[in-house]
């Protein structure tokens, strides 16, 4: 095993038990700056070593990447190389230009490294340097597909041995990046290691049929089969909505009939269906606000109309397109004027940005974020608030997909500044934000020991940002502290992070969406919507 600083690119093909150990982590701010404040990594089991690729860093992200029998290894490598060729063929024409630019021009100035929260979390572990995986891919590409690589080999950097271990490690390494693209933002040449990482994931999924279970078979495939990646069917959704109406009445005293499948409504509001299961107070809050403002809106119960997630944008163009087109179709059939995306970051990007050029003309329905609409309701005073009801410190997490990758920065801030007197920004924030650590599927990947990587490494910088944002208030257990994360995946990552570090139990740090804060401050509702009833640890 290499010491992290000694790791060389050519080590990727080494027959070793483990390429690097994650043996150093960025210190956390107070009160987590003491020994024993976080659990250790789960030990890698021997059975895992035999079955999966644990030879990268001991973490298993791709639980479908299983070690083949020795004769099958060459076939695996061959298939990967075929897939790599297809990245540069008409089969990948939608990414050909950005991919070619990033493959050709990197001068390896390493400006991107400092931008990466995973590199930072691990105290600059060489393996997680954004260009490390990109360079491995370049070396393989040069070796097989460029004249320079074939003729001059090592001179141009085509100096890597390719075996199962090389490819499998690269596959795993593609799942040590949140695709937040903060690195691309800093690149002086405009190159995009995040995009390149996703291209590696695509080879594995689209050519080898290998992708993490929670993204593919229990994600996209399940969504196309049942209507939702959560497995919630239409009948279950309708049940859920009934319960939600009862909950709303109980909490607010209001009888609300949530509109469902209303033809020709102005707005089709779509949620990440995970909200209905894990955070029903979020879609309920949308219903309260939209009804109070008198908007002409509806939810859909049709297949592909009620779950706005699209995991394909993390690993597979084919799945992304299938899902996006069917989601447009569901809106089309309902005859709505526009699709409004609820608080889910990747669904924002998937529907508004990634799917924007997947079809055209009549097949499309305009897509809009919920955030400008919500701000408009606040700005025009169609909703009135009593900010004093949100009398606790609040900080805002910026979901990368909404902010850096879509340019929606101010509406959520304007709202929160209006209704939360104790608001404080994280540092950095806005388009320079750090990922929550759950991006690109990490929030839902629960196989084997991957949660360890998420909780200890990929969410680490965000957790530290939260601690710093609350400053001295962290230690005061009497003060409720609220992390506002207007994104389902970010909430998932933050939920797990707070549980892992026992930050709610010990320090009264809570999390939730933006609309919950809005309903909590509504002047027309007497009872608090947010109750923070968790018992603190003695």
């Amino acid at each position: 095993m290499s010491k992290q600083l000694d790791l060389q690119l050519k080590d990727i093909d080494k027959k070793t038990d483990r390429l690097v150990e994650i043996d150093s982590l960025m210190p956390l701010s107070a009160p987590y700056d003491k020994e024993g404040m976080e659990p250790d990594f789960v030990k890698v089991k021997d059975a895992w070593k035999e079955k999966y690729c644990t030879s990268l860093d001991g973490i298993i992200g791709v639980d479908t990447l299983v070690r083949p029998s020795t004769p099958e290894e060459d076939k695996f490598v061959h298939k990967f190389i075929n897939g790599l060729a297809k990245l540069f063929a008409d089969s990948n024409k939608n990414f050909l230009q950005p991919l070619t630019l990033t493959m050709e021009y990197c001068v390896k100035c390493n400006t991107c490294s400092e931008a990466c929260h995973i590199y930072k979390s691990t105290n600059q572990n060489e393996l997680y340097r954004p260009i490390f995986r990109s360079e491995v891919l370049r070396k393989i590409y040069k070796k097989y597909f460029t004249r320079g690589g074939k003729l001059l080999g090592k001179f141009v950097g085509a100096d890597i041995d390719i075996n199962w271990e090389t490819i499998a490690r690269l596959g795993e390494l593609a799942y040590r990046c949140n695709l937040c693209r903060r690195c691309a933002q800093t690149c002086p040449l405009g190159l995009d290691n995040g995009m390149l990482t996703r291209e590696i994931r695509k080879i594995f999924s689209q050519e080898l049929g290998i992708a993490p279970t929670f993204l593919h078979s229990k994600g996209s495939v399940r969504q196309l089969e049942t209507g939702s990646s959560t497995g919630i069917t239409k009948a279950a959704l309708l049940d859920n909505l009934e319960f939600m109406e009862e909950d709303i009445e109980e909490k607010t005293g209001r009888k609300i009939k949530i509109p469902i499948d209303k033809k020709s409504a102005d707005i089709l509001l779509t949620h990440n269906t995970g909200e209905f299961m894990a955070w029903p107070e979020n879609p309920a809050a949308f219903a309260i606000l939209f009804e109070e403002a008198g908007l002409n809106w509806t939810l859909s119960s049709s297949m592909m109309g009620y779950d706005n997630v699209n995991y394909g944008i993390w690993y597979d163009d084919n799945m992304a397109q299938k899902i996006a087109l069917q989601q447009f179709q569901a809106a089309k059939e309902l005859g709505v004027r526009r699709i409004v995306i609820g608080e889910c970051g990747h669904a924002h990007k998937a529907a508004a940005i990634s799917a924007d050029r997947m079809t055209y003309g009549e097949n499309k329905v305009p897509v809009e974020s919920c955030l400008p609409i919500l701000w408009e309701l606040v700005r025009t005073k169609r909703l009135t608030f009593n900010p004093a009801k949100n009398n606790f410190p609040v900080t805002l997490h910026d979901p990368c997909n909404v902010v850096r990758q879509m340019g929606i920065v101010q509406p959520q801030r304007n709202i929160i500044k209006t209704i939360c007197p104790g608001f404080r920004e994280m540092t950095p924030h806005g388009v320079d934000n750090y990922c929550c650590g759950g991006g690109s599927g990490f929030a839902i990947m629960q196989s084997l020991n991957f949660a360890d990587f998420r909780n200890k490494v990929s969410t680490r910088v965000k957790f530290d940002q939260i601690l710093r944002a609350f400053g001295d208030d962290v230690g005061n257990r009497d003060i409720v502290k609220y992390v506002c994360a207007p994104c389902s995946n970010c909430k998932g990552a933050i939920r797990d992070m707070l549980a892992y570090y026992q930050a709610t139990d010990k320090f009264n740090i809570h999390y939730g969406g933006l609309v919950e804060l809005m309903v909590n401050a509504l002047s027309t509702i007497d009872k608090p919507y947010l109750t923070f009833t968790d018992e603190l640890m003695p």
Binding site: F95, T100, G157, G190, R357, P372, G407, I408
Partner: protein, 274 residues
């Protein structure tokens, strides 16, 4: 006559190969959107990284685009390598010195041509000054970049022999140039001979310099040093290209055209091929 033809050929190759590279990128199919904010052409929003998606019903509203904002950002990047300055100042000094030197050397070449047409003393003076600055800055920058690649263990780890070769090639052009133009023949005199197609009979040092210079001109557009082409596309045609696909838009037209040629190469994973 060999050197006259050789130099004209080398410069022509530089221009043609660079243009060909740009043409190849320009002809690539329309790609999926990869917006990355801040985008400087977003009028009134670029400063904080906002976009037209902050508007309600953005598709019904005219887009506020600031070409001045985009040009300003482009110029700051081209003239000052702003991103590197902001993000990695230590490397910027060397890189900027090198690139600024190259700009000066381009200017110097133009001035030599002007000076040939207008042999005035003050133009000659300016030409020499610009040339000296160009060689000095480019040499210092190149030398520092090379030293960093050699002695910074991280940069060294990721640098291929070809990338060392690139820096050494340019360094050798600069060193031989400094020697040749200061000790063998004045550049003004040389350019006069070159443009009047008089037979050039350069001495050893000038010959070596000219050969290396020609090789460099031919080689640059063939390797990653042609990033002056790629950088334009990476920013303007990828990261800052946030044109929405609206009915009747240019994007829609391109998509309709692209749909005529569906991909012939198919992916093989079972969920796609079956």
């Amino acid at each position: 006559m060999f050197f006259n033809i050789y130099m004209i050929l080398a410069v022509s190759c530089f221009i043609i190969f660079s243009a060909y590279k740009a043409w190849k990128f320009a002809k690539m199919p329309i790609h999926s959107r990869l917006d990355l904010y801040p985008i400087p052409k977003e009028a009134g929003r670029a400063e904080y990284g906002g976009s037209y998606y902050e508007e309600i019903e953005w598709w019904n509203k005219p887009r506020a685009i600031s070409h001045i904002g985009e040009i300003k950002d482009m110029l700051l990047e081209m003239l000052f390598i702003k991103k590197l300055f902001v993000k990695q100042k230590r490397l910027w000094w060397a890189s900027y010195s090198f690139h600024l030197g190259i700009y000066f050397l381009f200017g110097w070449t133009l001035l030599l041509l002007i000076n040939f047409a207008l042999p005035l003393e003050f133009i000659s003076y300016i030409t020499s000054t610009v040339g000296i600055m160009g060689f000095t800055l480019a040499f210092i920058g190149n030398f520092l970049l090379l030293m960093r690649r050699i002695f910074d263990s991280t940069l060294k780890k990721y640098t291929t022999p070809q990338e060392f070769f690139n820096l050494i090639l340019i360094l050798s052009v600069l060193i031989t140039g400094i020697y040749a133009w200061t000790t063998c023949i004045s550049p003004q005199q040389f350019i006069g001979q070159l443009l009047s197609f008089s037979t050039l009979q350069p001495g050893g040092a000038v010959t070596v310099h000219l050969i290396l210079l020609g090789v460099m001109f031919i080689y640059i557009p063939l390797c990653k040093m042609n990033h002056y082409v790629g950088k334009y596309f990476a920013f303007h045609k990828v990261l800052w290209e946030n044109e929405p696909n609206l009915p009747g838009s240019n994007v829609e037209t391109k998509l309709i055209e692209a749909a005529v040629h569906p991909p012939q190469t198919k992916w093989s994973a079972p969920h796609i091929s079956q």
